[in-house]
Structure formats: C-alpha cells, structure tokens
C-alpha cells in the first residue's frame, strides 16, 4: 500500500533541504560578541543612509555656490540649515553585502517629509531573504510614520504599533539628526578636488569623503540612543562618493563599507520634493 504524498509532505521536504547546513565551528562568547561584523556592517549601512540622505542636501546646496575646495566646518553648518530647510526627499536605496558567504541584497524606497516629521518606506530583502527588520520584516515590509507608527509585514495588513518606536522617532528629530550629521562631516576627510562624471545625459560634479569608523559609530549611538557594538578590528574608513547635477542637487551617492573580506556597497538615489506628497496613516 502506498500513502498519498501531500502538499505538507512536499513543503516539509523542501524545508528540510533548505535548512541543511554544515555544523559551524563553535566560538566562545555570546553570539552577538562572536558575530559582530555582519550586524555591525548592516546597521552602519542603514545609519549611513540616514545621515547621507540628509548630508547630500546640504553638500549639494553648498557646491552650487562654490566650486573650489569645501571646508568641512562650512559643510557642517550648511547641513544644519539644510535639514531645517529641506521639505523632503524621495529615496531609492540598494544595499548589497559581498562576503565569503555569498551576496545578499536589499532594495528600499520611500519618502521622508522632514517638515512634518513623517516617513514612508517599503523594502524587499530581494534574492537573499533574511531579516528586514527596519521595514517591518522579516523579508519584506513597510513602515509609515504619520500620526503614529504603522508596520506592514510580508505584504500583510498594516498594523498600528500603539507604543511607537523611540528609535524611529529619534531618527525623525531634525535637531538630533543635524547634530549627528555635523559630527560626521566635521570628522570626515573631504577631498578638496571636485571631479566630473557622466550621470545620465548630464555631467555631474563628484565629491569624495572618507568617514572614520568611530564617527559613524558615534553617530549611530547619538541618533538612536543605543549602545553600539565595537566595530570589527579590520573595519576601515568609509568611502563616500557624491554625484551632484548641474542644478546643484545631489542625484546619487555611493558608499562602500569594508571590513576584512566583507564589502557592502550602498547606492542611494535622491529626488528633492517640494512640496512633499502627503504621507497619511494607512489605516484610520
């Protein structure tokens, strides 16, 4: 007698195959202490996005006025003003991590309304799957901050989170952001040379910066109010390349985070929004 194979049997067999892994080597200490590199890099990637999305507005405005060397102190002051003045942005973000384990990727896009302190974003873990906790996760989801915090997970219904999220609220605080950005720009090495590079049908000006690891770490702590993990010993300075179109607007930014053999390139495209489309709560 043969038993009929069910859908559950098929799924369990696939699940078993997908979870077949070689047994790793055990290393003493907690998981978080043992595996700082991946989580640290990924957190920094998000922080870099937040800081640089705002920073590009300031830098772009500055370069529109000046084409010679750009003092970092002036950048910082301009950044503070830009955060207060910028109505909002539309962002498209691509993050990929290349390591000995393979390549993972995340695509995200959304709106930030600085004036009203509102945020709308969706993200997909792409081919790598895995955690997508910033945007509701675990592999895809959305976040809206508009008269409350709302989260969507895996294409499901929007859910209101009554207690909010202090870290997300802190992220939308322009004063806190401006201070964190000022510290980053002040401590980064800004290449005085401004190069040119094709961007679409136009020629963009290119600014290069190099941010030391400790600066991004401090920014993470001050912005999110969290205790950061110590960076990997081989975490190097973060290279930032900014493309600014003829109007002075920063249209693209490329950031590369490196630690040992792990490289995380981040590509961010921005569009200035004035006025900003209304970001409304997804549910009453």
């Amino acid at each position: 007698m043969s038993s009929q194979r069910t859908r559950t049997d098929e799924l369990l067999e696939t699940w078993m195959a997908a979870t077949a892994r070689p047994i790793p080597n055990f290393r003493e200490g907690s998981a978080s202490r043992r595996r700082p590199r991946r989580s640290f890099i990924l957190v920094l990637a998000v922080i870099a996005l937040i800081l640089l999305a705002l920073g590009t507005l300031a830098i772009g405005a500055l370069v529109q006025r000046r084409s010679d060397s750009v003092p970092s102190a002036e950048l910082a002051h301009s950044a503070v003003a830009a955060i207060a003045d910028a109505p909002g942005v539309r962002f498209t973000l691509k993050i990929s991590t290349h390591s000995g384990d393979g390549i993972s990727s995340t695509d995200a896009s959304g709106l930030i309304d600085f004036a009203r302190g509102r945020f709308s974003g969706t993200a997909d873990g792409g081919s790598g799957g895995g955690s997508m906790s910033l945007f509701g996760g675990p592999t895809s989801g959305g976040v809206i901050v508009a008269d409350g915090l709302f989260v969507q997970t895996e294409g499901g219904p929007w859910v209101a989170v009554p207690d909010g999220n202090p870290q997300l609220q802190a992220f939308l605080d322009p004063v806190r952001l401006s201070r964190a950005l000022e510290a980053v720009v002040d401590s980064s090495a800004v290449d005085p040379a401004i190069r040119s590079k094709p961007c679409g049908a136009e020629t963009c000006r290119v600014i290069s910066l190099s941010a030391p690891p400790a600066v991004l770490l401090d920014a993470e702590a001050s912005m999110l109010g969290v205790d950061s993990q110590p960076p990997p010993a081989d975490f190097g300075p973060t290279a930032i390349e900014l493309l600014i179109d003829p109007s002075g607007f920063p249209v693209r930014m490329d950031v590369t985070l490196e630690a040992g053999s792990t490289t995380t390139p981040i590509g961010l495209e921005l569009a200035r929004l004035d006025p900003v489309p209304t970001i409304s709560p997804p549910i009453p």
């Binding site: 069910t6 859908r7 559950t8 799924l11 369990l12 696939t14 699940w15 078993m16 997908a18 979870t19 077949a20 892994r21 047994i23 790793p24 055990f26 290393r27 003493e28 200490g29 907690s30 998981a31 043992r34 595996r35 991946r38 989580s39 990924l42 957190v43 990637a45 998000v46 993050i95 991590t97 390591s99 384990d101 393979g102 390549i103 993972s104 990727s105 995340t106 993200a123 792409g126 081919s127 790598g128 799957g129 895995g130 955690s131 997508m132 906790s133 910033l134 509701g136 996760g137 675990p138 592999t139 976040v143 915090l149 989260v151 895996e154 989170v161 999220n165 870290q167 997300l168 999110l224």
Partner: protein, 157 residues
Amino acid sequence: MTVSPPEDERRFKDAFQRDWPAVFRFAVAWTNDLSSAEDLAQETFARLWDRRSSIDWDRPVTPWLLVVTRRLATDRFRRLKVPFAAPAIRDLNEDGVAAWIDVRAAFGRLSARERAALVSTTLLGLTPDEAAEALAMSPGAVRAAVSRAREKLESER
C-alpha cells in the same frame, strides 16, 4: 552529575556536534528566518558553554537546548518589538533561494508554535511530550497545533 573541566568540554563538543542541527532547525521553525536562527543557535550553545561545568550531563541536554532557544527567540522579539536594525543578508545559495522563498511563504501562514510543533514532531523526531516541554505547551496542545498546521498548509495552494 557534574564532570571535570576536560570532560565537560568533551561533553559540550559532543552535544554541539549532535544537537546543533536540531537547535538550528528548531530556531528556523520558531522564527521562519534562517539568519536569525543561526544567531539563536550560536547563542543557545554559548549558554550551554557557560554552564558546562554545572550542568548535569547524565540527563538529556536536547530538551534544555530547545527551551533555551525558544526563550531567546521570544526575548529577542519582545526586546525589538518593531526592530530597527538589519537589512537582508545571505541565506542560501542561488539554487536554494527559490525553494526557500516558496516554503517560507507557506510556513509564514502558521504561528510560531504551529511551525515549531510541526517541525519538532515530524522532522526532529520529538514525541508530543518532548515537543510540549520545548514549546511550553501541553501534549494535547502540541497535537492540535500540528493538526492546524497541516490543515493550513494543505489549504494554502
């Protein structure tokens, strides 16, 4: 019974080799997430390592490991609530990605307890009593959860 330091390290290594796959899979079942499960499995064995000199090695350690895994996963969820941290990471090679996405979506329709009960009893070889201990449920509740899980998976086409 506690054992001498060289012996407790040997027992730990034996347990790690024997139980890591089950702990990892139990964590995947609970979280429906491969990368979180890797961290949880490592954290679970870190707890065992810390207790290697005081744990009673004459008793089966697997149930203790699964309970710790579940508690760590629950604590992590409560602590993060709406987590604010990591973008996606690598989980599988290219060939396994499509299959995993499909099965993860199907298992995503189950609750964590339904997934863990189903996996524990059908794939990890636990009896309903053993699964009940790991999941802090009654054996009857485990059986009911397995039944519900099967019904949901069969109707998900």
